[in-house]
Symmetry: C2
Subunit: 301 residues, 2 copies
Amino acid sequence: MTTTDLFPTRAERKIPMSERLDPTVFADSSSRKDGPLDERELKSYEENGYLFFDGFFTPAEMQGFLDDLRESEDDEDLKLSEGTILEPGKQEIRSIFGIHEISERFDRLTRDPRLLDMVRQILASEVYIHQSRINYKPGFKGKGFNWHSDFETWHSEDGMPRMRSLSCSIVLTDNVESNGPLMLIPGSHRKFVPCIGRTPENNYQESLKSQTVGVPDEGSLRRLMNDGGIDVPTGPAGSLILFECNTLHGSNQNMSCWPRSNLFFVYNSVENTLADPYCGNRPRPNFLANRTDWSPLTPIA
Amino acid sequence: MTTTDLFPTRAERKIPMSERLDPTVFADSSSRKDGPLDERELKSYEENGYLFFDGFFTPAEMQGFLDDLRESEDDEDLKLSEGTILEPGKQEIRSIFGIHEISERFDRLTRDPRLLDMVRQILASEVYIHQSRINYKPGFKGKGFNWHSDFETWHSEDGMPRMRSLSCSIVLTDNVESNGPLMLIPGSHRKFVPCIGRTPENNYQESLKSQTVGVPDEGSLRRLMNDGGIDVPTGPAGSLILFECNTLHGSNQNMSCWPRSNLFFVYNSVENTLADPYCGNRPRPNFLANRTDWSPLTPIA
């Protein structure tokens, strides 16, 4: 299935940035109250493209996830599986994709009403998991991530038609200034920045280690940074960053001895399921872009 | 002239870290009051190995320095001079050494009583400039600096006998979390961490671009970080970080579009002038380690 490409990108020449076409909060005036987020939080999300909740989950709740994680780290089969991405030139794990399919505990967390009710309130529809992953940054070794919009990749490489999805990033280890915390450009979700450069087939095999295609040009980044600044939310394990699919973000390398692990759940609206990739390549594997199960998530009791 | 090497380093095998031998504040109980720093500040410096002053100089004062800087950036002769270090593989300036010899404005600043009186209070002696430099981190491009103790290098490569010197780092552009601000390990000045690896002749030609010799081992760094944490002071242009010569510090790359420039003056006690380099190599050039003028600085009126 193909649909009109409203967000051309990966072109050979620079295309200027354009205005966002979709709402940020999809709820209309009558349904905005249907959920845990209050009007102040919804307005802040609309303005900045993200929300930060310090200590959203308790450290005790996080412990179980950390135990599961430690098991994963020692699992040599998992290290060799296709969904596991190693650091450039290293044997260190950078990311594990499809974590909610590997661990029941993580699967249940995707359906936790504390997350799901916020997501459904913002997207004003039922939702499913487009992608889940853990990003690791081992102490001293973990590299950063270049600035990028997730939507730009999901649109061109996965065929996500519109900006109606978001990420929940749950901080599994304390995030401090020195261990490469997530950086976001507030307000950047209101522009679409097309990127330069054709997408190679199987680009994901390189881009997940070190992104070079799908990185916005410096001129556009400068404009957006000068308009909105750069926010660097930090907080203890259990903190939550909920960010819009088109909010530009990146991170620096881990200079500390402390590992930094973040869990990501990407929720997409069932009104926004995938078309064929707009870049014209074959679809990426299912662990990166779920094309097999778009049934709405049901909250755990 | 050679003296006993109290801080062996650059060995082929790991030498364990050792306790500091020198005071951090050299003033005795009667002379501690002889200067602008109060007892609380002196205690904090003794404990953490650094002091941070938010907005120490006014933005108006900084403007003249920024104007001088801009001139330097456009000076092609300066770009080719031996004291100017370019980014690895790039034409961007990373550091300019001997800045107080190039600019009268910077020379006067080294003798500004607001700085000099603090330095003389801490070191309890007359002082001279061992080294001055500007570190540039251009937006998007500026690389970081590995963790290191300045003293470890100044001792082994320059023959500085004891820990009786300090750096004043003046923030010339706003330092924020995202543009690679200075990170310090509080309390690390109280240990000496010998580094592994013989020092190649003319090591400075590489080490000033990307340091590999003179970097502490991860085990020692981990111990010191777990004991003291990592501080990342940020502040507007004109802010000052005064840090002890043995305090471990480093910085991350500049992820923002905003340049980050810091000015460094290294003051050494006239009681601590240079011997032959303890690593046995030829002395480094004068722009890195002043061996020609150890006369005490006189404050400007």
